[in-house]
Symmetry: D3
Subunit: 135 residues, 6 copies
Amino acid sequence: MMTLTRRYRFAASHRLNTDALTPEQNARLYGKCNNPFGHGHDYVLDVTVEGAPGASGQIVQRETLDQCVSQQVLRHLDHRNLNCDVPELHGKVATTENLALAIEKMLKASWTLPAKLAHVRISETDRNAFLLETR
Amino acid sequence: MMTLTRRYRFAASHRLNTDALTPEQNARLYGKCNNPFGHGHDYVLDVTVEGAPGASGQIVQRETLDQCVSQQVLRHLDHRNLNCDVPELHGKVATTENLALAIEKMLKASWTLPAKLAHVRISETDRNAFLLETR
Amino acid sequence: MMTLTRRYRFAASHRLNTDALTPEQNARLYGKCNNPFGHGHDYVLDVTVEGAPGASGQIVQRETLDQCVSQQVLRHLDHRNLNCDVPELHGKVATTENLALAIEKMLKASWTLPAKLAHVRISETDRNAFLLETR
Amino acid sequence: MMTLTRRYRFAASHRLNTDALTPEQNARLYGKCNNPFGHGHDYVLDVTVEGAPGASGQIVQRETLDQCVSQQVLRHLDHRNLNCDVPELHGKVATTENLALAIEKMLKASWTLPAKLAHVRISETDRNAFLLETR
Amino acid sequence: MMTLTRRYRFAASHRLNTDALTPEQNARLYGKCNNPFGHGHDYVLDVTVEGAPGASGQIVQRETLDQCVSQQVLRHLDHRNLNCDVPELHGKVATTENLALAIEKMLKASWTLPAKLAHVRISETDRNAFLLETR
Amino acid sequence: MMTLTRRYRFAASHRLNTDALTPEQNARLYGKCNNPFGHGHDYVLDVTVEGAPGASGQIVQRETLDQCVSQQVLRHLDHRNLNCDVPELHGKVATTENLALAIEKMLKASWTLPAKLAHVRISETDRNAFLLETR
């Protein structure tokens, strides 16, 4: 068994805020991420699939994986506002943790590749990375 | 003569749009950067100063430069919306080009360091960098 | 379950040498790392915690994790000499392997975060990385 | 238990093509990687070994590991054509998946280090990485 | 005046060899880069243009620049063999220096952008970069 | 005219301190860099040479440049203490500014390459870079 990790990038804005708390509580909990007009990031998304290289010598064709991620994920997130433009995050706080869960859902909703989706990793800045096992 | 370049980071959101054009023209000109709810980036800001190392062996003290950039620039841009939160960009399109000019203005407004501000470089993604000579 | 990895940096000096060996044996075993006056590195420390995003949508609050790592680890290691300034390494060779074990100990000594410490990764140069499972 | 990952680099050329398919099928399957005269990459190879730091405070001596990887792998791959110069890949498609398997074989053929070979990771571009468990 | 540098990538193979020398002389001069079956790299190409941000707030539209570089340069170099597939290098040694000159020629052959081409920078590995002033 | 920049790395320790000041003044001026037992960095050194590619298609042979930098600079600085092991820094504060001047001196002392030394750039951490024009 072997894994292939392929890297994608998208730029998005978001604001951390929850209706369950008062403005003061939100400000205390989320700090500068609670800024009313939002802020943004250049997110890096690593999609890892697992399988055995078949007769073609490949776990999966690059173009097929790219098309899948582009179609299911990137065109919904790139150059978007995570709070307003992404239905999977409605009613949820737009943290990177919830974003990772949303991306897993988007990918699994119509996964038809022969290789298994092993994990999704997303980093928000050069200091933060979130890894979600999806096997 | 020698230069010191020091790297800073900030996360911000923006939207490219101008009142001088119709919505259709804006969409055509700015493409996905015209998305109504905006998007965002992890900006990388390099500030370069020029001078000769004095008796201390330093062109400038790191802490002094950091304090200056933090006070004059970063606290106004980090975790902000460039369109709504930054007075220097009001009435202007929030492109990285205009952002570089705004940062130069912010820095020069109260520059008291002995070293000269040589240039300001800002990158928006891992593919774009803007360099502004400020000497 | 999901993990969050957060990246920290510190600069330190060290010398590889053990009293159990003669100077010649030390020189042979540790090569240029045995240089009498020492040398140094810009260490990169990745701290990984594991948990489920709660109501706040976060595994752990960034500021809480940062404060913990800063208080327990960074202020003892940053701009320090690992041989002379770090009690956890007294009587041990100041290798990155032993440093990783020392950092695990420093973190676990007063770990009060709701998320579990999953692993500690430390790299010494752009070519070396050490990963220590701490679950 | 702890792992040490050490990074190596090599530059090589290759062409993806299989005798089992017609030229048209190869072109469809491998796309631009099927270009008749080939293309190339700066491969990054991460070798991970697992063990416990002994009396020397090290899982393995860096020089010993480097010599092993250099002797068994790098001198056969660096500045080479993977299709023509590498016997381990004869009769196989020169994909990075098959290259990872070949490198595992090269390393295991004469592994005499006290630490266990844990995994081999190879990246072909800044967007692709392949991880092979070798325990 | 301000510059915009935009980064592109392409993968190619090449062999350093000149008909003006004997095989022994070529081997001595170019070392492992003279390997008969060639080798390859993931080249990084930075194209820098210079101008003033106009009413749109941009020196040049990103898509226009990308299209130009893609059309004039990348489609001729990406996943190609520099010795066999690139007419601009016929009769020349396929060094990165000559490649930089060829790229300048390709870009200037039909440059119609309002911004001036300021320089072309190409790196062959993570240790080498070539900068060519084109103003 | 074209430049070639080649990247080298070395690990060293240092302490910022001057006999011209009292311990309290040194502590105030250099902050944590004044730590009595020192600290260290993974320095990155970029050496840039300028010339025209001759008949060989190269500004300079890589091996010749590497040998020169290795012989004149790296073997004196790598895995060393800048205060104790480097004669060029005796009587000077071991700042990166003074280190850049020392490296220029080391290189020019016996420069025999046909290409001109254009500049020397050294970075101490991922946030600091010093550029010294040497033409």
